[in-house]
Subunit: 284 residues, 2 copies
């Protein structure tokens, strides 16, 4: 163990017979201190367990999902760990949005590996989420290496892209209200043009609708979307994902829910279905 | 309908097939504008439903419970409305703690009717919670007048005291980590000495351990308490409640949970048991 493997527990709360724990550590990938949260179900006191990684949306930290999604009740029953990273590198040494906006920089890492200065020295959330964090946790916590991936909004984009880029690394995949086609929506265009540069060709490898056309692996997708989501038409565009899946025969179960918005009230309403979706793959 | 009955909806989120709604209104009891939240289960679109009133703890607003407790899932299944008021009068015209502390004044109304100036002109949370709010909601929303009462910490004290002082008004009662004997703990002594004055005799009618000795009604109590709660010994004192119940034969199921703290992770872990406890009385 070297210094980069040091985990410092910053909180622990007993919850549904297991433990919600928060840790901070020095990320070698992101070159800053990071905080993340883990829920370990009761089963983890006896054996190793599979883990569902959850990627949160713009402005979130590790706390929003753990506090608001109501996921731990069923995770405890199903014997799933939950791993929730932050949404970007953080801290005084990490550059943020020059205008202080909430949709770029801190809280808005977009789960990619930036190529453009000054972002490329810290904004490598894809590498952090896919490699550094699981490698660290599977060596330090009772996780058995079976991984599922899900997320909301920007984190739904992140889940789709991280899994599609890394066949074999995840057993299950889902998303709630994901940004389906970041190359063609305002949030994505702002982020990609800065993190990846002006050449739109380079954006294709971080866009689920592009990646799905040439995917080596066809993990069945469960995607939920609220029809009263104020970001639906301009930013999220599930119809583009549905078209890409249809064009290549990628299995997609896209559910549209009348009246539901973009909030954690929407997430909480359907998170149990996602946990069951993942458990069916993770526990087999 | 007069002006004091005006409700303005400030948010509405579809959740578990029902609706989370927030309203503001001018409270005649508290002489300020108040915000509260209601969860209406799917059944409320067809019929009137019973309501569980939830009283939150120090520093909370109506939002903490609705966002963090994970109560709406089972409330939807059981057909219970949830009503969550704020924890004190608020606003620029309402005096708060002279030192800006979090355990008195704004966010710390202690669910009593203050008798001392300057508090008595606004701090009448007992009257608001027991009378004004149910009277308003039962005339405006599909609530059938069957009421349960529960709460956490200061709100657990509030639930016990409001129900014990008003026999016949509630069908069911429970609490999580309540302040059981406010007359004899630092939080309660600070609040009571200001809201009610120096005469400790007047405190007795706002102290569950005193009220329970002469109660006219014996609603069975469900009380959960975490054993790793940092406020357990000094502020909460469930053993005093157990003694008062034992002395008068008041039915009490007091459960002590090793490892659990005072947070919403504790509340979430046991809220379903409370919802089922209330549903058994409210739906009969």
């Amino acid at each position: 163990m070297n210094d980069s493997d040091a985990l410092t527990e910053v909180a622990a709360n007993r919850c549904f017979g297991g433990w919600h724990r928060r840790f901070r550590h020095q990320s070698s990938t992101l070159r800053c201190e990071m905080v993340f949260a883990v829920y370990l179900p009761p089963q983890a006191e006896q054996t190793t367990v599979p883990a569902l990684y959850w990627l949160s949306g713009l402005t979130c930290t590790d706390e929003n999902f753990m506090q608001k999604a109501g996921a731990m009740r069923l995770a405890a029953e199903l014997g799933l760990a939950l791993v929730v990273p932050d949404t970007s590198p953080r801290g005084a040494t990490v550059p943020g949005d020059p205008d202080g906006a909430w949709d770029f920089g801190h809280g808005a890492g977009f789960y990619l590996d930036a190529t453009q200065s000054p972002w490329s020295s810290h904004y490598r959330m894809h590498d952090y989420v896919v490699h550094e964090l699981p490698d660290l946790l599977e060596s330090r916590l009772p996780l058995d290496g079976r991984r599922g991936l899900s997320g909301h909004s920007m984190g739904g984009h992140g889940a789709l892209v991280c899994a599609l880029r890394n066949p074999g690394r995840y057993r299950s995949l889902s998303a709630l209200a994901p940004i389906c086609q970041p190359s063609a929506c305002p949030w994505g265009e702002k982020a990609f043009s800065r993190y990846l540069g002006a050449d739109r060709q380079s954006w294709r490898e971080w866009d689920a609708c592009e990646l799905i056309r040439s995917a080596d692996e066809r993990l069945p997708l469960l995607v939920d979307q609220g029809e009263a989501d104020p970001f639906l038409a301009e930013q999220l565009r599930p119809e583009a994902l549905a078209q890409a899946c249809a064009a290549t025969g990628h299995p997609l179960r896209l559910r549209r829910h009348p009246g539901y918005d973009h909030s954690y009230y929407f997430i909480a309403s359907f998170i149990d279905d996602h946990l069951r979706h993942h458990a069916a793959f993770l526990r087999s």
